[in-house]
């Protein structure tokens, strides 16, 4: 994958078999399931969401299972650290299911704490799988187009499109800079890696100032007057998709 793997999700979204479905329908479907899962907050519904979203993304969308598991592990550090904080309690007097005494202070885990932690993890991964369902089936440009249909101010839409475009421009530059730095052993020691990182940060900012200048000149010479036109395709919504949408919600409501 190009750009140090940082555009891998977008790349997969373009290649997903679900990419051909109307982007408005996909966005509404995945976000409404996401919101429903969080509002209902029931482990059964969330488990159903985790399994069904994996099915939708991997089997129907034909995203590689290995890749799907890899993106699922991205929030792992956050979940491990924050669940530890929910689980572990400190007190001088009370104890719980497992207790560790350290110099008069009891560090303990309660039965209830474990139940709560399990519920949070399941709900969080249910929500995460909805987000991945959207991210791995709808390219960013289509999502921005959906925002436009929801009448977000035009300045914000333009800003989003431009940022999206410039991310790829800058990533290509960073890739070259990083490779050049590595080739010169720029990350050899902590001292030099700080220096190298700072230099890349500085040069990248300078580069982006200049590039913004060039982009403006180029746009102005092509008649830019404050409105940027973007290409978008409208895809038809099929009956089968609506039936699936309704059935999915019927199953979720029955489970909760």
């Amino acid at each position: 994958m190009e750009h140090m793997g940082f555009t891998a999700i977008d790349h997969n979204a373009y290649n997903s078999a679900l990419n051909s479905i109307n982007s408005m329908l996909k966005t509404v479907f995945f976000t409404s399931v996401l919101i429903y899962g969080i509002v209902i907050d029931s482990p059964v519904v969330s488990l159903f969401i985790i399994l069904s979203m994996a099915f939708i993304t991997v089997v129907i969308g034909r995203i590689k299972l290995r890749y799907y598991i890899r993106v699922m592990s991205i929030p792992a550090l956050f979940i491990v650290l924050s669940i530890a904080a929910v689980l572990v309690n400190f007190s001088r007097s009370s104890t719980g299911l497992f207790t560790l005494s350290l110099g008069g202070v009891n560090i303990f885990v309660t039965d209830e704490g474990i139940k709560k932690a399990v519920c949070i993890v399941i709900r969080a991964f249910g929500a995460v799988s909805c987000m991945y369902g959207l991210a791995l089936s709808t390219p960013m440009a289509d999502i921005i187009e959906v925002f436009r249909k929801f009448r977000l101010p035009e300045v914000i839409i333009e800003l989003m499109f431009l940022i999206y475009r410039f991310i790829f421009v800058l990533l290509a530059v960073v890739e070259n800079m990083t490779r050049a730095t590595e080739a010169r052993n720029g990350y050899g020691s902590i001292r030099s890696s700080f220096y190298s990182f700072g230099s890349i940060g500085k040069n990248l900012l300078l580069y982006s100032f200049r590039k913004a200048d060039f982009a403006y000149d180029a746009m102005e010479s092509r008649g830019y007057d404050g409105k940027i036109a973007f290409y978008s395709e409208d895809r038809n919504i099929r009956l089968l998709e609506i039936v699936f949408f309704i059935l999915y919600f019927v199953v979720m409501i029955c489970l909760s």
Binding site: F6, I74, L77, K116, V128, L159, V174, N203
Partner: protein
């Protein structure tokens, strides 16, 4: 396996999971689905005044100078790319600065709030850092609280005629620390401790995240200063334009 071996195995698994698999994690982006529904809504609503102020400001800037729209877009893209840059050989896992503090010092905090929410949305969808329902909470801590504090610290220190670079270091490092405190409070409010309530919970979350966040704040400060020195020697006209 003996009990100790089992324990060692478990420990190495957790270690591998934390430091191996998650090479590019922001520990402090609250993940999707972690916050209960009311918290998602409340933090989102709290962001609205700042976003509106930022939006009005951006609209005004863009009306006066069309070109600034491109500059702002570049800064947004820069913040995104900078957050994706890895800083090797500092810790086992990679750590990366957020760049919003420097942005606030250069462009003003309300503008950073709008750019911040867009960048956080992109990070959620393109990098799976953060989430959609937690966008409000993350925006509040990273794109509003941190930048506003950075900006305030910078302006106040400048009043006392302290060296610019010292100001930049203090502003960006403190902004980072403030972001981390706010996130801990957000998490603690969502999950107060069974014993000791919200207060005890804040302490727990801060302790857990201090491991990655305190060194990161110092690193962010140092890097911002290095970037600033570079900008002062190579981009004087651009800086003058920004009224720095």
């Amino acid at each position: 396996m003996t009990k100790n071996e089992k324990r060692l195995f478990m420990f190495s698994c957790v270690f591998a999971l934390v430091f191996g698999v998650t090479q590019t994690t922001f520990a402090m982006h609250i993940m999707e689905g972690y916050l209960p529904k009311t918290h998602c809504v409340v933090w989102g609503v709290l962001c609205l005044p700042f976003l509106t102020a930022g939006f009005i400001r951006i609209k005004k800037i863009v009306n006066d100078h069309r070109k600034t729209l491109l500059l702002l877009a570049m800064v947004g893209a820069y913040a995104f790319v900078l957050s994706a840059l890895k800083l090797p050989s500092v810790t086992g896992s990679s750590s990366h600065p957020t760049g919003t503090g420097l942005g606030a010092v250069l462009f003003g905090p309300s503008v950073m709030a709008v750019l911040g929410i867009i960048v956080l949305l992109f990070q959620a969808i393109l990098l799976a850092h953060g989430g959609l329902t937690t966008l409000g909470a993350n925006t509040f801590s990273m794109a509003i609280a941190g930048p506003f504090l950075s900006f305030g610290v910078y302006k106040i220190l400048r009043k006392f005629n302290i060296n610019k670079l010292v100001c930049v270091f203090a502003a960006t490092a403190l902004g980072d620390l403030f972001t981390y405190c706010i996130t801990s409070v957000q998490l603690a409010l969502a999950y107060p401790s069974d014993v000791g309530g919200v207060g005890a919970s804040v302490v727990k979350f801060m302790a857990v995240f201090a491991v990655t966040q305190v060194p990161l704040a110092v690193i962010e400060g140092i890097l911002s200063v290095i970037v600033m020195i570079g900008l002062e020697s190579y981009a004087k006209p651009e800086l003058a334009e920004l009224d720095y």
